[in-house]
Amino acid sequence: MCTVCGCAETGDQGHAHHHEHAHSHEHEHDHSHAHPHDHEHTHPHHHGHSHSHGHVHAHAHAHAHSHDHDHDHDHDHDHAHSHSHYHDHAHSHSHAQVHGPAGRAGAEPSLDCGAGPAGVEVAGVSQRRLVEIETNILARNDAIAEGNRQRLEADGVLALNLVSSPGSGKTTLLVDTIRRLGAEGVAVIEGDQQTANDARRIRETGVPALQVNTGKGCHLDASMVERALPQVSPPGLGLLFIENVGNLVCPAGFDLGEDAKVVILSVTEGEDKPLKYPHMFAAASLMLLSKVDLAPHVDFDMDACEAYARRINPELEILRLSATSGEGMDAWLEWIDARREALRQRALARARQHLAMLEQR
C-alpha cells in the first residue's frame, strides 16, 4: 500500500476496518425508513486505511431504500461522533501527515469531498508519491454514453440495446419486429466482430442499418455508437435498435447510452443462463424468452428460467415470444410503445422546462 512507511502491502494486510454502526433511532412520527447506507470513505493518507462504515439505521417501517454512497474524501480525520454505538471501538484518528500535492510546498490540506484526484505525499520520507485517482475505469465510456443518451433523448429517440448469446435469434427477432412495426422511423446499429451479414439482413426490411465491426472486440462501446449515430440516427421520436455482439458477458459492463438493455434468451439454450451469466441479467430491464414455439420439443423449464432471472434481478420484466409463431409479439411491441411514450414524456417535460427558462427575463 505504502512505500513511505511500508505499511500494508495490499488491502488484505492493511488496516481495513469494517465497522457496522448500528443506530437505533426513535422517531416521533409514524413512518420511518430502512436505509441500507453503505458509506465508503476512502482517505488518502499514507497509511492507506480503508474504512468501510456500514451505518445501519434500523427503524420499524413500511418501505425501504437502498442508498449506495461512494464518497471519496480527502480530509483530515477529526471525527466527532455523537452516536452511541453497539461496539466499543474508540477511534481517534489524528493524522499528522502533511497532506497535499507534492511540489506545492505549503499547500493547504484539501477538504474537498469527492473532487478530482489529489496528490498525497509524506514530506521528507520518500521521493515517491502516491496519487489518489479514485476513478472508475469505465468513466470515459460512461461519459460518452451519457452524451449519446442525452442526444437521443432530446430527439425523443428510443434506443434499445439488444444483448444475447450468439445464436439466440437476435437478428431474426429484430427483422420480424421491424416487419410488424413498419420500417418508418426505425434504424439499426449492428455489432459483430466480423462480416456485414446482419446489417444486410436488416436493410432488406427497408430500414437503414450500419454494421459496426469490432474486430477482436467482444462488445460495442459508447464511442462506437457515438461515431455510428450521425450515419444511422433515426428521425425524431424514432426507434434505434442496437444489436450488440453476441456475448452474454462483456456487453453487460458497457453503457452505450441506451434507454434499456433487452436480453434475449431462447429456449434452445440452458434455462440456468441467468445464474451462469448474472451480470447481463442484472443489467437488463427486459428479458425476452424467445423461440417458445420450440418449447414442447426441448427440455427447458420456462418457469424455472424466469425464477432464476428474477432471483438475479427482481425488477426484470419478462416476456415470452416467438418470431416464428408470432406468439407474444404483440406484448413486445406494446412494451416498446410504452417505453417510447415514457421517453417522449420525459423529453417533453425537459423541453418545457427549457422553454420556461428561456421565457424568463
Partner: protein, 113 residues
Amino acid sequence: MHELSLCQSIVELIEEQASVQAFEKVTRVCLEIGALSCVEPEALAFGFDLSTRGSVAEGATLDIVNVPATAWCFGCNRTVDIAQRGDDCPLCSSARLHVTGGEELRVKELEVV
C-alpha cells in the same frame, strides 16, 4: 476478454493524470475490483502488461484490491457478505437481497516518481 479494453482505459486515465499532476513514471497502480465486477484479475494483469508498454506506466506493478460483494438483506435488515449474485442471505436464508457493493472497477491510486 474485455479486460484488455479496460486496461486501455486505465492507461488512458493514467496518461491523462500524468499531464495534470506532472509525473513522468508510474511505479505502482492500485486497482479496486469488486467481486461482482465481471473482471478476471489474471486476465487484467496480462492485459495490463501489454497495455502499459510504451506508456508512463510501463513496468509498473499492479496491485489489485478485491472488494467483497455485499448486499442489504431485507430479511434481517443488515448488510451481509455474499459470494455472488443470486445468493441467499448467509444469515437468514432470505432471497430478498439488494446488492450494495462489489461492482467496483476503480483506479484507486498510483505511486509515481
